[in-house]
């Protein structure tokens, strides 16, 4: 008994210091409470409720009929196919347009890079609806682009740009581009310019240096941007609905139709659950791929 007392006494202020540690930890945890409450109230509960709804059939009893319909109906298969096709194409075009632009921006001085960044961000901050309607105005048969092109003799007949896949893609790529550029730019700015110099010094032509050094190092940023764009596309509603003109039907539109036209919450919920599930599977696979790649980028 005496010896224990001695040891406790030797550890001067131990109890009080531990208390301080604990207090700091609780305070930090306290900062996350409002957000956790929001997530729980606005995301976990509604999604749980939707999940429950998806198992309610027309006769208001528990059943799998909503899922069975998705599985069996060709219309649903087509909708999923369109959704993935449009999302993949949008992502592809975003990469083709965004990667060179971001590379260019990453090589500029801070001042010019910031000016370019404003050019990327201003449309990003403008209302999505306004931009979509603007494309509708620009692209239609008697719109600015067709009128000018016919006047200048670029093509003889007005081309049908909207209310089809091309219109949907043009609008979606335009709106999604910043989501690719921002993470990619953040990544590219961290790539030391000396890497390219070193590659050149060691005998690499500029093209070779780009493909063997810069491009591999930019992959984490590219994957991050690419994933954000792809996942956002999967659930995109406004732009494909307006520019597709009802001819390009993606999953989000079908969900909306199920509720607004047929008042079928069960069917809509089931579609939502399937979309969420597929998205999560894709994210899971992608995260495996990305994490492997990021191993090399830790310096």
């Amino acid at each position: 008994m005496d010896s224990t007392l001695e040891i406790t006494q030797k550890r001067i202020n131990k109890t009080k210091l531990d208390q301080l540690d604990r207090k700091e930890r609780y305070t930090l945890f306290g900062l996350t409470v409002p957000y956790l409450a929001l997530v729980f109230g606005l995301i976990i509960i509604p999604i749980g409720w939707l999940f429950y709804m998806s198992f309610i059939g027309r006769d208001e009893t528990l059943s799998l009929e909503n899922y069975r319909r998705i599985w069996e109906s060709k219309a649903y298969f087509r909708i999923f196919k369109t959704t993935f096709q449009i999302s993949l194409l949008t992502t592809l075009f975003c990469v083709l347009l965004g990667y060179p632009l971001t590379y260019f921006m990453s090589q500029l001085s801070n001042r010019w890079a910031n000016i370019c960044m404003i050019g990327v961000l201003i449309p990003f901050w403008t209302s999505l609806l306004v931009r979509t309607y603007a494309w509708l105005v620009l692209l239609q048969k008697k719109g600015l682009i067709n009128t000018l092109a016919v006047d200048w003799g670029l093509w003889s007949e007005p081309i049908k740009f909207v209310h089809n896949t091309s219109g949907t893609l043009i609008g979606m790529v335009h709106i999604m581009l910043p989501f690719l550029i921002l993470p990619l730019y953040a990544n590219m700015r961290t790539i030391d310019r000396d890497f390219l110099k070193a590659a050149a010094n060691l005998g690499a032509t500029p093209t070779r240096a780009f493909w063997t050094v810069f491009f591999p190092l930019s992959l984490p940023g590219l994957f991050a941007g690419l994933l954000i764009v792809f996942v956002l596309c999967l659930g995109f509603y406004v732009t494909p609905a307006l520019l597709g003109g009802g001819k390009v039907i993606m999953a989000a539109m079908k969900i909306s139709d199920n509720i607004e036209l047929y008042y079928s919450w069960g069917a809509a919920s089931a579609l939502g659950v399937v979309l969420l599930g597929v998205t999560m599977i894709i994210l899971f696979i992608a995260s495996k791929l990305v994490s492997i790649d990021q191993l090399g980028n830790r310096s």
């Binding site: 030391d192 000396d194 890497f195 110099k197 070193a198 590659a199 050149a200 010094n201 060691l202 005998g203 690499a204 032509t205 500029p206 070779r208 240096a209 063997t212 050094v213 591999p216 190092l217 191993l295 090399g296 980028n297 830790r298 310096s299």
Partner: protein, 358 residues
């Protein structure tokens, strides 16, 4: 790993950024097989000159020749010279082997040959067996060695180094200075080394080129630069020194009212600076013979391990208002008998250690 070294001729190289001359008509010759250091404070133009050699900076005009070949118009990837970057610039997505093998792969060397040369290079820098390591798993000193291996694996005739040791701690840095120098001797390459550390430059180089304000101030062996600096900037920058204002009149040198004996006086009259190296001063016991004497009061006495630094305020009446630094090596008996702060001392400086700069 022997290759034929190449000499480098730099002629009238000039680079302006706006109104600022980063390099102003710099001409210098680097002999083949020589270890030459570009030494200067930051912003002096030494790194710009190295970048011109590597091909990353194009000068406004001027000529750079490797051997007899003009290279100033050549892009960096065709210059075939090794370079060690300040932050090493090791590719983080490649392991040690891939980093070192990179230049060989670009040169289309066969796989077996790459393996062999990479192993040789790693052995040269004493990193054999670490080929599979990731760059992130290496210590600062090891990264430095990998960068070096990568720069020499393709046996370039010229090796450039841009402050390669600045990221290392002092002890490791001093070890590496000697090791790099030994490596240079065994590889037979022409090495151009950039540093702002004067001691490093003196330690490693065959010759030192002191660069300041975009120009070459002096190019000489370390001992010549230390013993006979061309001007006040070099006297101050290289080694420690006290610069005392003196007046020269008819080849006679006066510090305040006191006449000073110097090894080589100057022809013209005017204001000059007397360079006094702190370690060349000694405490006077007897009457002075054939040396300059300075008396004053010790205002500061600082223990610095290997030596004791004394700061002496010279007697204003005889010498004017000036300060003198003096270094007494530790371990000599004299240290115990050192006069304390506030006491009066007389110190001597031999005539052949006394010289003037402008």
């Amino acid at each position: 790993m022997k290759s034929d070294a190449l000499n480098i001729s730099i002629k009238d190289v000039t680079k302006k950024y706006g109104d600022f001359f980063a390099l102003k008509d710099v001409s210098l010759e680097v002999k083949s097989g020589e270890f030459l250091t570009l030494l200067g404070p930051s912003g002096s133009g030494k790194t710009t000159l190295l970048m011109v050699l590597a091909g990353f900076t194009r000068p406004d005009y001027g000529s750079v020749k490797f051997g007899i070949e003009e290279v100033v118009l050549k892009p960096p990837h065709l210059r075939d010279i090794g370079m060690v970057f300040q932050n090493y610039a090791l590719f983080p997505h490649m392991n040690v082997e891939q980093n070192v093998g990179y230049p060989q792969k670009l040169r289309g060397v066969s796989k077996e040959k790459i393996k062999e040369t990479v192993n040789d290079a790693l052995e040269t820098v004493k990193l054999d067996g670490l080929g599979r390591r990731g760059v992130a798993e290496l210590s600062g000193g090891q990264r430095q060695r990998v960068a070096l291996a990568r720069a020499i694996v393709f046996q370039p005739k010229i090796l450039l180094m841009d402050e390669p040791l600045s990221a290392l701690d002092k002890k490791l840095r001093e070890e590496m200075q000697i090791e790099l120098r030994q490596l240079h001797d065994s590889l037979n390459m022409t090495t151009v080394y950039v540093t702002h550390d004067q001691k490093e430059a003196l330690t490693m180089s065959d010759r030192v080129a002191v660069i300041n304000e975009g120009g070459l101030m002096q190019l000489d062996t370390p001992s010549a630069i230390y013993k006979k600096p061309n001007n006040a900037f070099i006297a101050d920058f290289i080694g420690e020194s006290s610069l005392l204002s003196v007046k020269v009149s008819k080849k006679n040198v006066y510090l305040g009212n006191t006449k000073i004996f110097v090894e080589h006086s100057v022809e013209e009259d005017g204001e000059f600076l007397l360079v006094v190296r702190p370690e060349k001063l000694f405490l006077m016991q007897d009457n002075p013979t054939d040396c300059n004497t300075f008396s004053g009061i010790i205002v500061e006495s600082i223990y610095q391990g290997e030596s004791q630094l004394l700061i002496i305020k010279l007697d204003p009446e005889s010498y004017g208002d000036q300060m003198l630094r003096m270094r007494v090596p530790n371990g000599t008996a004299s240290l115990q008998e050192l006069p304390s702060i506030g006491s009066k001392v007389t110190v001597g400086l031999k005539k052949f250690d006394s010289f003037l700069v402008e």
